[in-house]
Each structure stands twice: as C-alpha cells, then as structure tokens.
C-alpha cells in the first residue's frame, strides 16, 4: 500500500510540476498571471497530433516542430497583446482568459469536439517495487528534473538569468542599468511557453485530447503555484508534490470518494495559504533573488 502511494503520488506530482514550472517562471519574472498557459499546452498537444496523424511525421520531429511553433505563437501573443495591457493587472487576467478561449475555439473549429489521444513516445511499462508504471510517466518525471535543473542553471548561472531576475526584482532599476526590459520579458515568455509546449508533448499522451483540456489543469496549476508561492520554482515543485500526494491518498484511502481528489487538493491549498498567506516559498524566493 505505502509503496503504491509513493510511486503513484510521485508520478502524479511530476505531471503537475511540469505544467506549473513555466507558469511560475513567467509570473516570477514578469509578474504576469498567464491564464493562457495551459491553452499553449493544449495547442502543442494538438499540433503534435496533427503532425503525427495527418502528416505522418516522425513523433520526435513533430514534437520539436510543435514546440517551436507554439513558442513563436506565444511570443507573438506576448508582443501583440499582453505587453500592451500589462500595466492593468486585472485586464491581463481577462485578456489571457480571452486568448485561452480563442485558442479553444480555434481548436474546436479545426478538430471538432471529438475526444482524441496522442500516442506515447515510448509505450509499455516498467515494474518498480511491484507496481506498474508506464514509461511515459517515467519520462515525464525525469523531464521535471531536467527542466528544474535547466531553469535553475539558466536563472543562476547565465547573464540572461541575472537579467531576468533583475527585471523581476525591479523593472525600473533594471532598465536604468541598461537591461532591455521589453526584450527580457519576451524571452521569459518564450521560455515559459516552450515549457508549456514540452508539457504538452509529455503529458498530453497521458490524458485525452479535447478542446477543453486546458481548463482542469489550469485550476490545478494555479493551486500548485499558489501553494508553493507565486514565482518560486522550488515552491512549484513542492506544491506539485503536496497536491499530487493529496490526490493519490484520497484515491487509495477513500476509493468511493475518489471524485473528491480535486476538491480535497484545493482545500489543502486553502489551508496552507491561510496559514502562510504568501505560499510556502513566496517570500524566500524574493529574498533569494
């Protein structure tokens, strides 16, 4: 029982972490709550589906093409839309929401309301401690660590990372120091969207493709990110672990209440932010910077 909970909990956490890191990054660096984030994830998944099923492209190639395409779309959206309204915090929310609905409707027009599936990169399963785990989940989990390490290295070890963190801390001063703030915002957005697209490539084969598939993950991503502290990448990872395990525990301990896993996870998030209003790592991340 315990090993089942640990392994299933870890793979559930991996999925959430992968989705949440990009969201957290763009908030941390540009103070934008990007509700379009999971819509980009959906877009990537659908593009991969199109390239593999309709054009018969090789899966790896179609993933790369899709990630590039979605990143370009994301940057365009940032330049044409988000950048113009970012001064009004509430307007950003609605604008990104409207963008998500636009992507949803475009996908609906192009693919219809059929439920589809993307095939996994590697099919089959491994047995760990007597528990079956599909390779796709292992891949997702591994990717989380690569991305965590990658973003950490980028933010801490490169010049670009320093510029991103400086912009996040104080836009005006960063600008005065000769950092091209607008360009930094765009680059951060590109990285965040690319992360969403990577999540689309890895996570979408685990779920069902529908034009509404962005909504439920969006709520969970918001919960993960708030729980961990907005803008903190470490926080997002810990938040994902907490929510992933909460959900798994609900399923294993109260099987007839498995449908409550989302509600219980959200309730846990509420309790934690009521005790720590800035999330688990909200403040420490600010200090780190």
């Amino acid at each position: 029982m315990i090993e089942m909970i640990i392994i299933t909990g870890l793979i559930a956490s991996g999925v959430y972490a992968l989705l949440a890191i990009g969201f957290s990054l763009i908030f941390g660096a540009a103070r934008i709550i990007n509700l379009t984030h999971t819509a980009f994830y959906m877009l990537a998944a659908y593009l991969i589906y199109t390239f593999t099923s309709s054009f018969g492209l090789n899966p790896i190639l179609s993933i790369i093409v899709s990630i590039i395409a979605v990143t370009i779309i994301g940057v365009l959206v940032y330049m044409l839309v988000i950048e113009r309204v970012r001064a009004h915090e509430t307007t950003v929310l609605i604008v990104t929401m409207a963008l998500a609905i636009i992507i949803q409707e475009v996908v609906l027009l192009a693919f219809g309301g059929h439920f589809r599936g993307v095939s996994s990169l590697i099919s089959g399963y491994a047995t760990i401690l007597g528990i079956k785990v599909t390779y796709q989940y292992l891949l997702t989990f591994g990717m989380v660590f690569i991305i965590l390490f990658g973003t950490w290295a980028l933010l801490m070890k490169t010049k670009l990372g320093i510029a991103i963190r400086a912009t996040a801390q104080d836009r005006e001063v960063a600008n005065l120091m000769g950092i091209n703030v607008a360009r930094i915002g765009m680059i951060t957005m590109a990285i965040a969207v690319a992360l969403a697209a990577i999540a689309g490539a890895l996570v979408a084969p685990l779920f069902t493709l529908t034009p509404y598939m962005w909504m439920h993950p969006l709520v969970m991503v918001l919960a993960v990110v708030v729980l961990g502290g907005l803008g903190s990448i470490k926080g997002s990872f810990v938040g994902a672990i907490i929510l992933g395990f909460t959900e798994t525990l609900v399923v294993f301990l109260v099987p007839t209440g498995a449908f409550l896993k989302g509600s219980v996870a959200l309730a846990i998030m509420l309790v934690i932010i009521l005790i720590r209003p800035e999330g688990l790592f909200g403040v420490s991340f600010e200090e780190e910077r």
Partner: protein, 431 residues
C-alpha cells in the same frame, strides 16, 4: 448631446430588430419544420444532425410527409444548444427555435442538466419533443406524473437508465461465465469503477448489493473518480492490488479513453466490461493507440451487425455521408420516421392528434422495434429495442451481446461474434 442619445438608441434598436428578423423568415406553405437540437460542435450534436438529415432527405425524395392529401416537405433547422458548456445557452436556443424559427417539432437533446430546462420550455409551448440522447429515466417519469403538461415528451433513444443497468449486468454475467470457463474462477472478484455522476448511482448501488447475492460474485471495492478526471492511474493501481478479475466500468466522460489506454498498456489483469461511452465511438481505437483492444461496452449500433433489416443499410449510408460510424445520437433518423408515420396517421400537424398517434407507434427502425410505454419511454426487451454489447477486437467494434449462441431469450443478431477475454487476463489467472 443629441448624438449621444442617438448613439445609445441606435445600437439597441438594431439589436432588437436583428433579434426579431435574424432568422424569422416566414416559412412557405406545405413545409413541416423540425428543429434538431444538440451540441453541434461535438460528435453527439453532429450525429443528431446527420441522422436527421439523412432521414429528411429520404422522406423528401420519396414525396415528403402526407398530411391529409397534401404532401409536406421536411425542413430541418439546425439548433446548436452548446449544452455541454452552457445550460443557459441551451435553454435560450430551444426557446429561440420555437418562437423565432417557429419549428413544429423538436428532436435531439443530449445532456440531462440541459435537457431538463429544454424539456420545460418545450412543454410550456406545447411542442412535441422526441429526445434522442439523454437516458435519464426521470425525464420520462414526468409524463406519468403530470400527463397533461408533459405529454409532448417522447424518448426514442437510448433505452432508459434502468434498462441500461440490466444490459450492463448481463454483459458482466457473460464475462464471468467466460472467466469460469477459461480460468476456472468460480467466484470472480469485481472492482466497480464508475464516474461520480447521478446516472451511475443506481448502477453502482445495484452492483454493490446484487453482485454478491444474485450473481455469486465478490465486490472487492468501489472507485468513484470524478467525471472530469484526466486519468485514473491511481485507481487502476489500487484495483490491480485488490486482485480483481473484472473491472465493471461506468464512464460517460473523456476519461474513458485514458482509462482504456492505461488498462491495455499496463495489462491490468482484469477483464474490463460495462459502459464506456468513448468506446462506443469509431475514433476510440486511434484515441487509445490500439490499447483499447478487448474493451467491452454497451452500445446501440455496431458495424456489420444486422439488428433489423434496415440497420446495415443505414450504417453504410451514414458512413458514406459522414465518414464515420453512427453513435446512438444518430437515432434522430428513427425519430423522424416515427414522427412522419404519426403525422400521416393523424392527418394533421396538430400536437394533440399527433401525440395520440405517436402513442400507438410500432415502428421497426434501425436499432430495433420502437414502441412507447405509458411514460412515452422506448420499450426495452426481446423483440423490442435491446441494445448491444460490443467489444473491440483487432481494431474492429464487434457485437458480442446478445450472445451469438442465442442464450439470451433466443435473440441473435447476424454478425455477432463471441466474447474474448484479454490474453493477459487468461495468462494471469489460468490455473
């Protein structure tokens, strides 16, 4: 100042005018208008529409509907209810089609939360509504409770939730027999995996009580994931650990796809049987990447299965027009024929007269013989509409129930095959 006032009035006036005129073109004589209501961006609504369109084309080509001595052409009105997303939208859409499009009859409807207000509105206006999508029994029970108000309501497809449950159990029984024959399991262990929705409550409650008592099975647990769950890995892991031989499923939502895929990919050693609405669709095989093989579910149609003389022909023409095999929502096809017969018998479009004739309906359609009970609900049973059990075998949706050997009331449909246990299940439990 004046400009401002004019600026305010003009848009309002334009709105009002547009609302009134946008679709209110007066119908020429000798046309019977039928509103096809469904979520048109989804497969359910699409099939509502294509089914009705197929029937309308055939009827019109054959001279239309004879009302008295006059031939009326059928004119379909496509009504996008958007009911999966917005209940308000659905209610507005149906009122608009009644008052602005002025349709004479309505067919379609899919999701119960939206069909309920749509039913109320249709009853307010006294429009006959032939439901082709929602299985909730209560919708028809209202006819019995308050006949004068709800008499305009009929259900053509699917069979109601109680009957769905019955067929569901027979499918389960069939799988248990197979397990006994192949693996020598006398008391199969059953894991109930049903989404947490009201329509599944009765099936789950009945299964928990009846399986041990009447069917000699052991229930090892009940898992109720959310209907919006994205995957069920944790549930499947727990089910495997519980040592289940059979997974008894009840799914109507998109999670039916990842469920079947994971079940096949991880080779969970338990036969999967029950209701999985996603597995009723042709796209299921691709959506699961082929891992949906051996998934077994109830259905209404199956390719190449001859339920009545009309079934095969209908299926082929539907595939020709639409490019995919019909789901039960395409039952609007039958609904139009049932309606045509009733109108012709009544000799008028008047609702009350047509209702009298609809109640006498005895029509053999594509999914079986349609007769309405006293609640205006389609009757289920041998010789009526029975429903099918289908299993995915080698990329094909095959009919496995009623059994090909005629062991259920002697009902056998041409094209039925025998049920197959997944090989990994046999391997896991064979003595």
């Amino acid at each position: 100042m004046k400009k401002v006032i004019i600026g305010a009035i003009i848009p309002l006036a334009v709105c009002v005018v547009l609302l009134v005129t946008s679709c209110g073109g007066a119908a020429p004589g000798k046309v019977v208008k039928i509103g096809v209501v469904g979520p048109m961006t989804f497969i359910q609504g699409e099939h509502h529409w294509y089914g009705a369109q197929l029937a309308a084309e055939e009827i019109n080509a054959a001279g239309g509907v004879m009302v008295g001595n006059e031939a009326y052409q059928i004119k379909l009105v496509k009504v996008d209810s958007n009911e999966i997303i917005s209940v308000t939208d659905a209610a507005n859409a149906i009122e608009r089609t009644i008052t602005v499009d002025k349709v004479d009859f309505i067919v379609g409807g899919f999701r119960t939360e939206a069909v309920t207000p749509m039913q109320e509105i249709a009853m307010d206006y006294g429009r006959i509504f032939l439901c082709c999508g929602s299985s909730t029994k209560e919708l028809c029970d209202k006819v019995g409770d308050d006949y004068d108000r709800y008499k305009y309501w009929f259900r053509v497809t699917p069979i109601n939730s109680t009957y769905l449950g019955k067929v569901d159990f027979m499918l389960l029984g069939m799988v248990a027999e197979e397990l006994k024959a192949e693996c020598g399991i006398e008391v199969p262990k059953v894991a109930i995996l049903a989404e947490k929705l009201e329509w599944a409550e009765d099936i789950v409650a009945a299964a928990q009580v009846l399986l041990p008592v009447m069917y000699g099975m052991e229930v090892v647990g009940t898992w109720r994931p959310s209907d919006t769950a994205t995957e069920v890995t944790a549930e499947l892991t727990a089910i495997e650990a519980a040592g289940a031989h059979i997974i008894f499923t009840t799914f109507s939502g998109p999670v039916g796809i990842p469920y079947a895929r994971q079940w096949g990919e991880m080779q969970i050693p338990a036969a999967s049987v029950g209701i999985n609405v996603e597995a009723q669709k042709e796209g299921f095989w691709d959506a699961t990447g082929g891992y949906g093989e051996y998934e077994t579910t109830m259905n209404t149609y199956a390719p190449g299965v001859k339920i009545t003389d009309q079934t095969i022909d209908f299926g082929e023409r539907f595939v020709e027009d639409v490019g995919e095999f019909p789901t039960y929502c395409a039952g609007t096809y039958e609904a139009l024929y049932v309606l045509k017969d009733a109108i012709e018998a009544a000799g008028t479009l008047d609702s009350d007269a047509v209702i009298v004739e609809l109640e006498k309906t005895d029509y053999t359609g594509t999914a079986g013989r349609i007769v309405f009970d006293e609640n205006h609900d389609v009757v289920w049973g041998p010789g009526y509409v029975t429903g099918l059990g289908v299993q995915w075998q080698d990329g094909e949706m095959e009919c496995v129930w009623p059994p090909a050997d005629g062991s259920w009331e002697g009902v056998v449909y041409e094209g039925a095959v025998t049920y197959e246990l997944p090989p990994w299940v046999i391997e896991a439990w064979a003595p």
